[in-house]
């Protein structure tokens, strides 16, 4: 962390770490636990220093068992705490799936709102870091498909901070997807302004304004979409980029307002495209904006294959070229 007169330069990971520390300081009921989150500070150092500062009752390592972590978090939330648990990697969260789907997501509904579960499930997710298998899954569709879960994914350093703080304060369980490849990205932020500012669960943002077509992206695909818009601008095409941020609840209003203005849309996501969040967004836009559309809504997603080995991931991930090629297919000649 380096401070200047106007702001502080933070990595994405440090922004998350600062959010955790700020929220733990503000609320004694916030507890952080998972695998290696204690003295080590997490494999991505997101919980760095929390045990030293808040004690091992507030930030601690658990036995290596994800269902145990998740199930224990349910009970702790039932009994008045706000657990923030870390699943070490996306694919390592699967042992906890039953707890997430059958209990985390359903408990408030099963009890007619008597039991609230204000807990956060932090998941380092998606690829682009040359990780070996089981370390790079984009698992958002599983969670987004499960009613009762709130699912968010920040794509910027300020959002990493504000969304995480908001997620911890949220009355319902939040699946917080942290794009691994962004952990080391840096931005200069005004921390004091962030601390005072509102975040955006349920709200998408226009990450880059444009007029000719809308790129709709979230999480790790947002920087790629922004680079594509930059390249398109050089070619004389103005692309708007929407950062979805909140997958559930989904902000139809912001997304559709943009598409109605531009008349064209491409949805971009890393996950395999079949039965995915990208499919859902494409369907929603088509249902709501049909009469404003000059072309079908297209998608740039991962292929429908298991996440590839490190030396092959470049062929899998949505790239600037693939996005621009897809934008070219939006029936411009008929416009």
């Amino acid at each position: 962390m380096t401070a200047t007169a106007t702001g502080t330069t933070l990595t994405f990971a440090k922004a998350l770490n600062t959010a955790l520390a700020d929220e733990m300081a503000a609320d004694q009921t916030v507890v952080v636990f998972g695998e290696d989150v204690g003295p080590l500070g997490g494999v991505f150092r997101v919980t760095d220093g929390l045990t030293a500062r808040f004690g091992e009752e507030r930030c601690f390592d658990t036995p290596l068992a994800e269902s145990g972590i998740m199930g224990m978090a349910v009970g702790m939330a039932m009994n008045g705490l706000r657990p923030v648990v870390e699943m070490q990697f996306d694919a390592f969260a699967y042992p906890a799936f039953e707890q997430v789907v059958s209990h985390v997501a359903k408990m408030p509904n099963r009890t007619r709102g008597k039991v609230k579960l204000p807990l956060v499930i932090r998941i380092p997710y998606a690829g682009g870091i040359g990780g070996v298998e089981h370390h790079c899954d984009s698992s958002e569709s599983y969670y987004a498909h499960t009613p009762g879960l709130t699912v968010v994914s920040p794509a910027t350093v300020p959002d990493a901070y504000t969304l995480l703080r908001e997620a911890i304060r949220h009355p319902d369980p939040v699946v917080f997807l942290e794009p691994k490849k962004l952990y080391w990205s840096t931005e200069e932020v005004d921390l004091e302004a962030l601390r005072a500012g509102a975040a955006g669960i349920g709200r998408a943002v226009v990450a880059r304004p444009g007029a000719d077509a809308t790129l709709i992206a979230y999480g790790p695909a947002v920087p790629t979409a922004l680079r594509a818009a930059e390249a398109a601008a050089a070619e004389g095409r103005s692309l708007e980029v929407i950062d979805v941020r909140s997958i559930v609840p989904f902000d139809d209003e912001t997304v559709c307002a943009s598409v109605r203005r531009t008349g064209r849309a491409v949805v971009i996501a890393e996950a395999p495209g079949f039965a995915s969040v990208a499919s859902e967004i494409a369907a929603r836009v088509q249902e709501r904006c049909f009469h404003s559309l000059a072309a079908p809504v297209l998608r740039v997603t991962g292929f429908d294959i298991p996440y590839p080995a490190p030396k092959l991931e470049q062929y899998y991930l949505p790239s600037v070229d693939r996005i621009l090629d897809t934008v070219d297919e939006l029936q411009w000649e008929e416009a």
């Binding site: 507890v31 009752e57 658990t62 036995p63 068992a65 269902s67 145990g68 998740m70 199930g71 224990m72 978090a73 349910v74 009970g75 702790m76 939330a77 039932m78 009994n79 008045g80 705490l81 657990p83 042992p95 039953e98 707890q99 059958s102 209990h103 359903k106 408990m107 408030p108 509904n109 099963r110 009890t111 007619r112 709102g113 008597k114 039991v115 609230k116 009613p147 009762g148 709130t150 009355p171 319902d172 349920g202 559930v248 609840p249 989904f250 139809d252 209003e253």
Partner: protein, 388 residues
């Protein structure tokens, strides 16, 4: 530090294996303390005679008399619920007939500030803890997934997935410990659930974090149709405790006195900061898994008949009658109390229940999402057209 020969070691750093040797030695002592007794603890035998046990004194007569009343009510609840299924008032009922002593003891061993985490077969335990019978049976009546406020009696909702609730129990206990609350948590499951991964994770977490949890396994010999020998070849389910570093105990699950003795000891130990324990009650599911099951397909009538003389009510009745505590007058009084509960079940469940379609959307999130508002409006509109 000494060697096995008793000579002092000259190497001040010691041998790398010393630590292991010490740990093994420590465990030698601990193991015997963690090991369950050779046979399930029994304090009153099937003929109603007191069986002496050095570790577990017999609860006093008045306590047993009060809990005997609960047994009688519990048996009546099981009968009435089965009848209500036949009449179509309950979708299904997993009966605890034969296991009522476990049910009653589960409620009796807890104090008001403690928590109970029951399964779908623990209806009688939930009612014995004080939850209203109709609210308890909401799940099986089918108008909602759970009908009671878990915080009112500190009873979590009845779990239909297996062993998942054990981890929630661990979490409640962990939060209680961090907050300095005087709370013990009773985490209940059956023999089949001990095969689930969450059973393992729950016991391990409870032990590692030294939490006030009493794990209470009702081993009724069957997981639907599958007998215990296909679940585990451990010497007993209670022996599993030793692998987690907690004491395990086996108890005759049809002996209310022994159940009270063993569970109360576990609860007291947990409350005093002694950490978790695992209690296995050896009992028998006298009826099918549910009314939808046919137990004759996987067990013989002879086997079931053999358990009849071990019934939990018969033996306690003999014992208390022998003490002249249980009189004919008392028996009549208890039967009337049981009938009152049964009548309450009939009245409550025969009444037509009104469901509100708006409830479908009401509790999914604290605040309805725009999408759910839209869907609720669509359903409302659809229904308004039907009634025109």
């Amino acid at each position: 530090m000494t060697t096995s020969t008793g000579k002092p070691r000259r190497d001040p750093v010691g041998h790398p294996l010393d630590h292991m040797a010490q740990t093994a030695a420590a465990q030698d002592g601990a193991e015997s303390f963690m090991l369950p007794q050779a046979a399930p603890v029994q304090l009153v035998d099937p003929d109603g005679r007191h069986v002496h046990n050095d570790m577990y004194p017999l609860p006093d007569g008045q306590t047993l008399l009060a809990e005997y009343r609960q047994l009688v009510i519990g048996r009546r609840v099981n009968e009435q619920a089965n009848a209500l299924v036949r009449q179509g008032r309950l979708a299904v009922y997993p009966s605890s007939h034969g296991q009522e002593a476990c049910q009653v003891a589960a409620a009796a061993c807890l104090q008001g500030q403690d928590w109970m985490f029951p399964t779908y077969r623990d209806t009688v335990a939930v009612m014995a803890r004080g939850v209203d019978p109709i609210q308890t049976l909401t799940l099986l009546r089918g108008d909602w997934h759970s009908g009671y406020d878990p915080y009112e009696h500190k009873v979590s909702i009845q779990a239909t997935p297996l062993a998942t609730q054990l981890l929630h129990a661990v979490g409640v206990a962990h939060a209680a410990k961090l907050k300095g609350e005087d709370t013990v948590v009773l985490a209940m499951c059956g023999d089949g659930a001990t095969s689930e991964g969450d059973f393992h994770e729950a016991l391990n977490f409870a032990a590692v974090f030294h939490l006030p949890v009493v794990f209470f396994v009702q081993n009724n010999q069957y997981a639907i149709s599958v007998p215990l020998k296909h679940q585990s070849v451990a010497p007993s389910l209670a022996h599993k405790a030793i692998g987690y570093g907690m004491p395990g105990e086996r108890v005759d699950g049809n002996d209310l006195a022994a159940l009270l003795g063993v569970l109360l000891k576990g609860v007291d130990r947990a409350r005093a900061g002694g950490g978790p324990v695992l209690v296995e009650a050896f009992t028998y599911r006298m009826q099918s898994h549910t009314n939808a099951d046919d137990a004759t397909r996987y067990r013989t009538d002879e086997e079931v008949q053999a358990w009849l003389p071990r019934d939990p009510i018969i033996r306690l009745r003999s014992y208390l009658t022998g003490l002249h505590l249980l009189t004919e007058q008392k028996e009549e009084e208890f039967a009337r109390d049981a009938e009152t509960v049964a009548a309450r079940m009939r009245d409550g469940l025969n009444a037509e229940v009104q469901v509100d379609p708006e409830d479908l959307f009401r509790f999914v999130y604290t605040e309805k999402t725009a999408q759910l508002r839209e869907q609720a409006a669509k359903l409302r509109e659809e229904l308004s057209r039907e009634t025109v």
